[in-house]
Amino acid sequence: MARQPDTPPPPPVVQRLRIRYAKRGRLRFTSHRDFARAFERALRRAAVPMAYSAGFTPHPKVSYAGAAPTGVASEAEYLEIGLAERREPEHVRTALDDALPPGLDIVEVVDGQPPSLAERIEASLWRVELRGVTVEDTQRAVVALLAASEAPVTKLTKDGHRIVDARAPLVLARVAPEVEGADCAILELVVRHETPAVRPDDVLTALRQVGALSTPVTPFVTRLAQGLLGDAPPAGTEPITLLDPLRDVDGQQLPPAAVSEPLAR
């Protein structure tokens, strides 16, 4: 049997808070591990009364929903924390936001209700800024990819190189209308979360392979939203609704901000 410290067990979780945070600007280069450390320190600075795990190395109760890749900005990352004393969610939001550097921003905090975060998230809406690429070329590549039945791409995972189909989980891909004088195309993607994960990077690889798209500059990617797919139409270019994982009224989830409206510029 594992040895236990001869101290009393830590106080239990009395409140779960769900948190939406953003990774913006230069701090989008923060890796998930880095963020996790910074966040745990912020909890301490903000004096959030965290519940801790038992054992010789107690850890604060924090669980993360899948994180955006390093270098990708995000407006919609999610995590949940367990508190040993109750706190006002908005109070926790401001205290945590003040304790994190600008660029790692706490957007919203709510009391957590079942179902779990994981059950409330099945897809992401991504915005990809392709600098030095025309809208026309992008459009052509998107059409080619959507027409394909599959798009196998090789990606590097922790188990080595793996081939994944970048087409199957792609629920939506469309290009924003051209803007006068802009030297870039804006691509909007909704991708279902699967294992292994298909990321915007993989979709871009598919666009290069299937649609002969060339991207001279590293694209700037932002995750705009995560959630459940509403009434998802078959894959295509129609606007799609993602249900906000933090909204919950009378057991019914409501579609809020996370709608892929035509992209305003």
Partner: protein
């Protein structure tokens, strides 16, 4: 002239490099000031990767001390990894600071802190990327003044060609005085150019300027003399000593990185200096005398430091932390204050002393019970006498038994290989000692699952120590002894599995030896190594012994010196050492006498509790030992 941020040019490169977060800055407690609102601008560098450099106390202290001044700004820069270096060269991006992403070449001062000599090649990379000529003599008034500090600056001769100046000793006050001198010189319209600025700094005794000294050599390769080549320059340059640590409670708001770094804790120096007199220990010799920080200042710093950072671990730093006159009260006071708050307290490796177990128990009350570390340094009783580490094997066994008996399961022991007069048998005795440790531990703990790890490094003789004359052991012998030790440990059927052994091969230590005790002729070797691709020599995966060996062979061909001459050669009393004109306060005659004492097994007590033995520091530097007790205690924190 406005200096723009380079971030826009850097940003597109970031997705293409490993760990981009290390180049973006934005750490908690970082400071970015308006470039044009200050008179003096410092770029501070720890010449290693960000993950090693960021936690460096020296840089963090200077960063805060300088940025607290309205007339000064300080930003930080670190060594970029080769993937980033290649991209920077391809895109013409110069060495930048991580705070304002400003070009290092635009600052007034480029200050580098060297705690190890193996960072010298990284300095050359940074200078080159910054567009600063490698050789000090090629620089003009548009270039920063390049200043080296840190322990390695006590013999900066190997980098004499590359630096404009070196600061010896504590940097806090000196950095401010340099700032004053710089501001005055700039406001006068930079009279006499950088030469005059350096002259002023040198004449005031603030810095050592290698260019103001000439070195003559004897036909056999030894140094004949080192003399100033102009008037008004002191013949010997003295180190700086901060006498009241309570007046300098830095770092107050240490940087909290987003990237993972080697130390993730709030470190407080509880005292500076050490007079235990271990003969191998350069830090203990050059930082004398002992100056304690008071218990109340320590408590205050910890309280504010945790609040400012959110760190979960507090390190009580010093060269021998258990020697603080009120360490018991500090440990108990802090443990009481943070009871139940998941703040853990740690001491660096401690002396072998049963009292330290009591301390360790106190410190582990609130947090993680990791292993305990002790540093007997020498494997045999005889060896420990030679190095003046006065601890018997029975002391050690008693101490570790107490540790295991108190519930600690893992003990780490530090040793050195290659000490003066060492024999194969001295090193093999480490295996005997580890065996006894496990034996005693199993008895004390009444269980079998306890472990002992032996960590062993090759000894490098350092300037300003009694061993500065000693021959460094050749790396082949070091490696042979370490292999024999490992075989002895592994071959032990009863105990081998409970004993871990960690060591590095002796070759990097030999190069460290070359750079530690080298003179100006070694500069050409460093440059050759760098030109042939030498980077990050402190990292075993990047270090190439062959490259250094080859550069030595090329550089020293046809001269009376070579790699062995600088390393494995024993020096005689009369020899002029490359650092004799640099004054750490230690009387050279005392050092020599202590070296002779060591060979006859003579011991020296600690001058904190026995009479002064005239090492020379206090009268020479106008300093004195400052220890408590103050008799004060840490009161419980009252919630606000």
């Amino acid at each position: 002239m406005p200096v723009e941020s380079l971030f826009a040019a850097l940003e597109p490169l970031l997705p293409r490099v490993q760990k981009p977060i290390q180049y973006v800055g934005g750490e908690l407690n970082a400071v970015i000031k308006d470039w044009d609102a200050v008179d003096v601008r410092w770029a501070l560098m720890y010449p290693d990767a960000y993950e090693v450099g960021l936690p460096n106390q020296g840089v963090q202290i200077l960063y805060e001390v300088l940025n607290e001044r309205d007339d000064t700004l300080a930003e930080r820069t670190y060594s970029v990894w080769p993937d980033m270096e290649a991209l920077m060269r391809e895109h013409g991006l110069p060495q930048f600071t991580v705070d304002g992403h400003r070009p290092v070449g635009a600052f007034d001062v480029f200050g580098l802190s060297f705690s190890t000599e193996l960072g010298y090649t990284n300095m050359l990379t940074a200078l080159d990327l910054a567009g600063i000529p490698l050789l000090a003599r090629d620089r003009d008034d548009t270039h920063p003044i390049v200043i080296a500090g840190g322990h390695a600056a006590f013999n900066p001769e190997p980098i004499a060609d590359f630096i404009d100046a070196a600061v010896l000793g504590d940097g806090e006050e000196c950095a401010i005085r340099i700032t004053h001198a710089l501001r005055a010189w700039k406001s006068e319209g930079r009279p006499g150019g950088r030469d005059e600025l350096l002259r002023r700094l040198a004449a005031e005794g603030l810095v050592y300027v290698p260019a103001f000294f000439d070195v003559d050599y004897l036909p056999d390769g030894r140094i004949q003399r080192v003399v100033p080549n102009r008037s008004g320059i002191p013949w010997r340059v003295a180190k700086h000593t901060v006498m009241d640590l309570d007046e300098w409670p830095y770092p107050k708001r240490p940087l909290v990185p987003l990237a993972e770094t080697v130390h993730e804790r709030y470190s407080v120096e509880i005292f500076r200096g050490c007079t235990r007199g271990c003969r191998f220990c350069q830090a203990g010799m050059i930082t004398r005398p002992v100056r304690e920080r008071s218990i109340t200042t320590v408590g205050d710093m910890v309280q504010k430091g945790i609040a400012a950072t959110g760190f979960e671990e507090v390190g009580l730093l010093s060269l021998s932390s258990a020697d603080h006159s009120e360490i018991g009260e500090i440990a108990k006071g802090l443990a009481d204050r943070y009871d139940g708050e998941n703040v853990s307290l740690s001491l660096p490796s401690t002396r072998v002393d049963a009292f330290n177990i009591t301390l360790a128990n106190e410190l582990s009350r609130n947090g993680r019970r990791t292993g305990l570390t002790f540093a007997p340094e020498g494997g045999s009783e005889r060896m420990r006498k030679v190095i003046n580490k006065m601890v018997t094997e029975d002391d050690l066994i008693r101490t570790v038994s107490t540790a295991y008996g108190n519930g600690w399961r893992q003990v780490k022991l530090y040793f050195m290989c290659g000490l003066p007069t060492e024999t194969d048998d001295d090193v093999l005795q480490i295996a005997q000692m580890a065996r006894r440790v496990i034996q005693a531990g199993r008895e004390a703990a009444n269980r079998k699952d306890i472990r002992c790890t032996i960590s062993i490094g090759a000894f490098v003789p350092k300037p300003h120590t009694p061993f500065q004359w000693a021959a460094q052991l050749d790396w082949e012998t070091v490696d042979r002894r370490l292999r024999a030790l490992k075989a002895a440990v592994m071959g032990d059927k009863d105990y081998g599995r409970a004993i871990g052994i960690r060591y590095h091969d002796g070759r990097p230590s030999l190069i460290e030896g070359l750079l530690s005790r080298g003179d100006r002729r070694v500069g050409a070797v460093i440059r050759k190594v760098w030109e042939s691709g030498g980077r990050f020599d402190g990292w075993s995966e990047d270090f190439s012994f062959e490259r250094w060996e080859q550069a030595c062979a090329d550089t020293f061909a046809g001269t009376p010196v070579d790699l062995d001459w600088f390393t494995t050669r024993e020096r005689q009393q009369a020899e002029v050492l490359p650092w004799d004109h640099l004054d750490a306060g230690l009387d050279k005659d005392w050092l020599w006498a202590d070296w002779q004492e060591s060979l006859s097994g003579g011991e020296v007590e600690d001058c904190r509790w026995t009479p002064c033995y005239d090492c020379g520091v206090c009268p020479g530097m106008g300093t004195e030992t400052q220890v408590g007790p103050t008799g004060r205690a840490l009161l419980p924190l009252t919630p606000v």
